[in-house]
Symmetry: C2
Subunit: 354 residues, 2 copies
């Protein structure tokens, strides 16, 4: 493999010196871009978009054509693993993801098996290879997966946006059943992310979207523990190059110290945490990624620039910061706001890297 033309993201994730703070945006390939909606219309629906490597490559590249981003992120769904397990992922019009066969019976849980990523998730690996080829080493490609607990929420509840009653009832009443699911999920995520790395992902991120719904004790036992298990099993080097791993628990600001000890290279922050305070709490043990409130992008360029500067100043001098939103970009965001943000990060951050 030839060398990355822009490896700023990788260096920042490894806390090596950079000239400026790299930036990418969670859900940067998405509905706020007209060209994304056009590709999605051609694909027919969201799942066909994910499952076709040509379409997945096309939408992954779209935001890079518009904005000078420092990373691409694989376009895929968070729920590919349970779909590969046979739960039947589908999207009802205007609703979030659902499963045709959520885990309702104990025998269904006992029958779960770890999918082979190179067979059952071949389409993802093909997308990763094709995106890498198309990127031509311009910027690194980030691979990703949902966390074991977040996947389990959807698998048990059958859909998102619930009060977590079913999975929490299992957690408190039948913890051994939930541990069984989480163990299968952790093995699945490990081999899924390792296959992405072998296919060309140059950094990986674990999205723990729902870990923040747990109590402090339950978070450690049912979410973080399994992310640590994954991190211990990940290939952290490929082709002689270090592959950084990021963990992002939405709503996990109270638990940063333990997340930083999970074995990851960087911790993702949502917008509720002060990034400077986070840096003081966990020292320079890991890099930090975040954390602008995505709704700042609905304000004027002046406000976007001022809020960006606040976060850069709060982090302060030196490397180890990857700028991002604190959550996925809203589908209603004006694309020109994203450009303002990316340009502001690049221009304003240089003074912190001298």
């Amino acid at each position: 493999m030839t060398k990355l033309k822009n490896d700023t993201l990788i260096r920042a994730l490894l806390r090596q010196p950079t000239e400026y703070t790299p930036v990418w945006m969670m859900r940067q390939a998405g509905r706020y871009l007209a060209e994304y909606n056009q590709t999605r219309a051609r694909a027919g629906n969201f799942l066909s978009l994910c499952k076709n490597p040509d379409f997945a490559t096309e939408v992954t590249m779209q935001p890079l054509a518009r904005f000078p981003l420092d990373a691409a992120i694989l376009f895929s769904d968070i729920l590919t693993i349970p779909d590969a397990m046979g739960l039947g992922l589908y999207f009802a019009e205007g609703e979030g993801p659902k499963f045709e066969r959520p885990l309702r019976e104990e025998w269904e849980i006992q029958a779960l098996t770890v999918p082979d990523p190179n067979v059952h998730l071949r389409y993802v690996m093909d997308a990763v290879s094709q995106i890498r080829k198309t990127l031509d080493n311009q910027v690194p490609l980030i691979g990703f997966s949902g966390s074991p607990f977040t996947l389990a929420c959807y698998m048990v509840e059958g859909c998102g946006g619930t009060d977590f009653r079913q999975i929490k009832t299992m957690l408190y009443q039948r913890p051994e059943l939930l541990h069984h699911i989480l163990n299968i999920n952790a093995q699945s995520v490990t081999s899924y992310l390792n296959a992405q790395i072998e296919s060309g992902a140059q950094a990986v991120m674990i999205f723990d979207t729902w870990g923040g719904a747990l109590s402090h004790n339950a978070y450690q036992e049912f979410s973080l523990r399994y992310m640590s298990q994954i991190l211990a099993g990940l290939k952290r080097e490929h082709g002689g190059v270090r592959i950084p791993a990021v963990v992002f628990t939405k709503g996990g600001g109270l638990w940063l110290e333990s997340i930083a000890n999970s074995g990851c290279d960087a911790v993702g922050l949502d917008w509720t945490t002060d990034i400077g305070e986070a840096r003081r709490r966990i020292g320079d043990k890991v890099a930090l990624q975040g954390n602008l409130d995505p709704f700042v992008l609905f304000a004027s360029p002046e406000v976007i620039t001022a809020e960006t500067e606040k976060i850069l100043a709060s982090y302060g001098n030196g490397s180890g910061h990857v700028f991002n939103l604190g959550h996925g970009i809203s589908q209603f965001t004006p694309p020109e706001s994203a450009l303002t943000l990316v340009d502001a990060v690049h221009a304003l951050s240089r003074k912190y890297h001298q």
Copy 2:
């Protein structure tokens, strides 16, 4: 007024010695109780239930007849103030609260006025008086209000459960408009809670349900600041008796130190915070209220008891803890689980008060 027969809650909120840890449950009068659903059916709908002091008294008393709770809490809605401002609160079948006339235009915001609680919210004051009479000093009555920011979310978005796009756009782009709304709301909440205190409320609580959706800076400026303003204007004594005030920001665990400095007597905790860690962080400055995950009540009596003991042990020895759930009780909770919880708190907590 004669003396309370059980003033354990008041003493705990003021960090005075108690014999055991008092307990009540957020939303303790609610849909998980068959008798509540019967009263609601007689009332016709939820709003008629709130607006009729006889019905409000009846449902406020219902959980006390079942469980040996240490407090009653006024049965009312969080959105009575904006309704009194003329926004037209209504509940569509099977959905949350909505407003007929949300704040869409600048002139609507400029035209907002502070309602007179003894006129426009007379039905709440009548309910407070009637509940106090019915309680006959058995346990204290807690009055409450939504926080200025939480009220503003509903007033601007028009309903709950949104992504906060409209209010956050205002916050970042037209902060002076949002400050105007929040200032009116803070004045309204102050006079509303003071009227509840004059009508007989023996403690008050501010529910900041949505403050946790803000960034750390925005929380200080747009939510906590206005709660501090209210606390500075509250009558803290009535009839020679101290009236404790509790502030509860759901998702506010990162900001406990500043909440504890707001002028409140106690800080409510959701279930994501370790209560022992919270006590170490803020010392004995204020009391703490919380914080069992409401979904523990879907487990067996053994698990409920064990999880209750964990929280009591984490808080440790001495007064200053009011046991509660970390959020409102779920409508699907088996009522016998609530009894298990209340009994467990009373039985297990005595050893921490010797």
